[in-house]
């Protein structure tokens, strides 16, 4: 599960107010490098919940990876942004797309209900008594 996916997921269980963002507990994770795409990152930036993304990197033990405030569009579209190691674009790219959570748990912030992540796949199924009517 990538952190981009984590940024999209919410708990729909009964008792959840927003069910978002899910707290992340990581047992095993890996990185897989992939070419950054500046246009994609610029497009997705306004749709991201930045505090949720930052919290996820903290849960991974990477508090230095992302700044507390999101990069600006100007920073992402600057000349050479994609090549600059450790620059704002590469950091955002790494966080969103290159980190893969293999084993762990997603926890609903309202109900503490745990959703397992197993072999890279989050399981968001609810039990029948948790379904909202």
């Amino acid at each position: 599960m990538r952190l981009l996916t984590h940024n999209m997921l919410a708990s729909n269980a009964r008792g959840a107010v927003t069910g978002y963002p899910l707290k992340l507990q990581v047992v095993k994770w890996s990185t897989k490098e992939v070419e950054p795409n500046a246009d994609f990152l610029r497009g997705i930036l306004p749709k991201l919940d930045w505090p949720a993304l930052v919290a996820a990197t903290h849960a991974l033990g990477l508090p230095e990876l992302l700044p507390e405030t999101p990069p600006t569009d100007a920073e992402l579209s600057a000349e050479g942004a994609a090549e600059e190691e450790g620059g704002p674009l590469r950091r955002l790219h790494r966080a969103l797309l290159e980190i893969h959570i293999e084993e762990g748990t997603l926890v609903c912030p309202d109900t503490e209900r745990c959703f397992p992540i197993s072999r890279g796949v989050p399981n968001m199924l609810l039990h029948e008594d948790e379904v909202r009517n």
Binding site: M1, R2, L4, T5, M8, L9, A10, S11, N12, T18, Y20, K32, V34, F40, G43, I44, K47, L97, H100, S118, R119, G120, V121, P122, N123, M124, L125, L126, E128, D129, V131, R132
Partner: protein, 351 residues
């Protein structure tokens, strides 16, 4: 999931190879019986149809487990014979198909659905940037749409085996930054409201026990202005004078449903009614039954190949039972009971 298409005309379709299966079941003509028996059967039939949205909790849990188990067990067989798309192919009506046509036809099905829904393709501003694939199988549609639009595609399935396979295939195809798969329930989608520019359900609607909730969730996660595409098996529309399908039709559907882990079916106009209730716009529907009909002779031929037979025999009872029920689907198709339908609509733009 493989199903037989229904003919829309008065002349049933009998492609070569299907003739044996079509004649085996025969036409169960209900001989009229007067009095209590008929009235009770009619009431039972009516109740069965009205129970569409009211499956008990225990039954719903059993259904989900059954679906997950069926696809955990059979996905591997399916993929080895048919590839990574688990939906029907779209053919010109009346044209014979062969195995080698099938993948192209499956791609065509996706493209025909997108065209029917008028999904913008070329405009970089208007083309979809985020897509949800509801009932995603091993992710064939998601990966195709990710490639076509450069969009982020999120697939949901009840089957952990399928989700993992979907992720593995995405990685193999260099799409792991664009397509991701999770285990989730289409009736309780794990996403906040309004996330997706394109909401896609390709041959998964048959599995949803509560059609209204299913469509309501599709609408909820759709962004303003997003298109919703449902391609699914339905039963025929009811005549204005009818309250329900005929008893023999309901009986046939029940036997099919038991084998494929399908809850009660509805009609295309039921979907249209639900979409209208949810204030969805630009609702369009079409009957594509004749366009999927050529698929079944090819499926049966593949099952009769050595590879098909041995795969089936090693794949478990659920998969075998699904294969044995194919003649029932063919029967339903020939009787005009079963329709392969597309329903599309649009979430209203933000006020």
């Amino acid at each position: 999931m493989a199903h037989v298409a229904a003919t829309t005309g008065t002349r049933p379709l009998h492609p070569p190879g299907l003739r044996y299966y079509a004649s085996r079941g025969g036409c169960a003509s209900a001989s009229p019986r007067a009095g209590i028996c008929t009235r009770r059967r009619r009431r039972e039939a009516t109740l069965a149809v009205r129970a569409m949205a009211q499956m008990s909790t225990a039954a719903a849990a059993g259904l989900k487990e059954g679906i997950a188990g069926l696809y955990d067990e059979s996905s591997g067989v399916w993929e080895s014979i048919w590839g990574d798309h688990m939906h029907h192919g779209f053919y010109d009506a009346g044209v014979a198909a062969s195995m080698s046509d099938h993948r192209r036809a499956q791609i065509r099905m996706i493209e025909e659905a997108l065209a029917f829904a008028a999904v913008p393709a070329d405009d970089p501003e208007k083309k979809p940037k985020s897509v949800v694939d509801v009932g995603c199988g091993i992710g064939g549609s998601s990966r195709y749409l990710a490639n076509k639009y450069g969009a982020q595609c999120y697939g949901i399935t009840l089957s952990p085996v399928q989700a993992e396979r979907g992720n593995a295939l995405a990685a193999e195809q260099g799409l792991s930054d664009k397509a991701s798969f999770q285990v989730a329930d289409a009736l309780e989608q794990p996403f906040p409201d309004g996330q997706f520019d394109l909401v896609w359900s390709m041959e998964s609607g048959e599995h949803m026990p509560d059609k209204r909730k299913f469509v309501s969730e599709l609408a909820r996660v759709a962004a303003p202005g997003a298109r919703i595409i449902i391609v699914t098996w339905c039963h025929r529309n009811l005549e204005p004078s009818e309250n329900s399908l005929k008893p023999d039709e309901l009986n046939l559907l029940k036997r099919i449903c038991d084998a494929y882990y399908l809850p009660d079916w509805c009609s295309p106009s039921d979907y249209v009614k639900i979409a209208k209730l949810l204030s969805l716009e630009d609702i369009r529907t079409a009957d594509w039954s004749e366009n999927v009909a050529p698929f079944w002779p090819a499926v049966i031929k593949s099952a009769l190949t050595w590879k098909g037979l041995t795969s089936l025999l090693t794949s478990g009872w659920k998969t075998i039972r699904g294969a044995l029920v194919m003649p029932l689907m063919i029967e339903g198709y020939n009787k005009g009971l079963i329709k392969f339908s597309i329903i599309t609509c649009r979430k209203p733009e933000a006020a």
